[in-house]
Symmetry: C2
Subunit: 181 residues, 2 copies
DNA sequence: CAGGTCATGTAAAGCGTTACATGATTTT
DNA sequence: AAAATCATGTAACGCTTTACATGACCTG
């Protein structure tokens, strides 16, 4: 019966993070914010309740382990948890990436606002992408210490974002020329 | 007081779609499914209630316009709606693209499952991306009839997805070689 | 001793999908 | 006459964010 294997979305991150040795809700949130947040975010409002749910489901076990006086709940994978994690990593389903990009939405509707607005929108996308690229580049400093999986996701994110930045620059130019003539 | 300008996320698509001349919930859903769904999805469960909310907010007006016996509610922008749409298109905020990609999440954790699983995950990402690329390519047939904004988003999606497909192919090879040695 | 970080949580609200339900019209 | 498409909607559920709340510990 242990295999009503319906991991919730956030459950998957958490199980993985505990698998990597992140043992507290706080630690998990830290790593999420410094890595997966670019393709998979999670907030405290989900992490803490989900940790308890996973424990109830028998995939995690916890013990209180105070640091000094400060209370701390330390989690680790149970055998069932390890199995569930491996099963998920090996499974074939749901490999779709869902995207919500307001810049693209604006661009889609940009004919309603005139050509200069269109250029402006591309410019705004560019700015946002450059900020993102800067954040990703900053992470690269520690690429040497990363597990290969993490390094691959960083590479992918960096490369894809770079492509997007280039596209925006090219498109900005193209739209300006069309105007200028 | 008409400017408590808090358009909800779905409200933005809908307002834009009505602006483009999509006048019924059904029509809006059609276009969403054939275009913006790649970066901004919407379901009936949201569209119909949101249309009514936007009307209540004074941004849309509706009239019943039966086709034959079949009931049909036709919406159009009010002046306030047109203003809200323009204001949104001109606004500078919120240009972040949120992404949820389970492939990347698996890749991130892939060290927990061994190198052949890692390769397998990249292979699965590749398959999913190729499917997406095929869908986008199919849309390209009608690129000639598109407004320029729509064409730009298609170009962008096509280009980005192509980059991602290439990355997966390269990475698959790289991982295989590393193994093979 | 102030400000930052460690650490844990809850409540409410909002967002969104899925599944269900209905029925007319058009096309094959 | 069946199948596809047009057309509209609701209910339940699940997911996620935001804002609030608390307090100890550490560093300068």
């Amino acid at each position: 019966m242990a295999a009503d294997n319906a991991l919730t979305p956030t459950g998957r991150v958490i199980l993985g993070m505990v698998g990597l040795g992140k043992t507290t809700g706080y630690d998990i949130k830290q790593l999420v914010d410094h890595s997966t947040r670019f393709f998979w975010a999670a907030s405290y409002g989900q992490i803490y309740p989900e940790l308890r749910r996973l424990e109830q489901a028998g995939l995690l076990s916890s013990r209180g382990e105070p640091t000094g006086d400060r209370l701390r709940t330390v989690y680790e994978l149970t055998d069932a948890g390890r199995r569930a994690l491996e099963e998920w990593l090996g499974s074939d389903v749901n490999l779709v990436g869902e995207l919500r990009d307001e810049g693209m939405l604006k661009l889609f509707f940009s004919d309603l606002a005139g050509p200069e607005r269109q250029r402006q929108i591309v410019g705004q996308m560019l700015e946002a992408l450059e900020r993102k690229l800067a954040q990703l580049s900053a992470l690269q400093a520690k690429a040497g210490e990363m597990r290969s999986g993490q390094r691959l996701t960083l590479e992918y994110g960096l490369g894809a974002t770079t492509w997007m930045v280039d596209w925006c620059r090219k498109t900005e130019r193209r739209l300006s020329e069309r105007e200028g003539r």
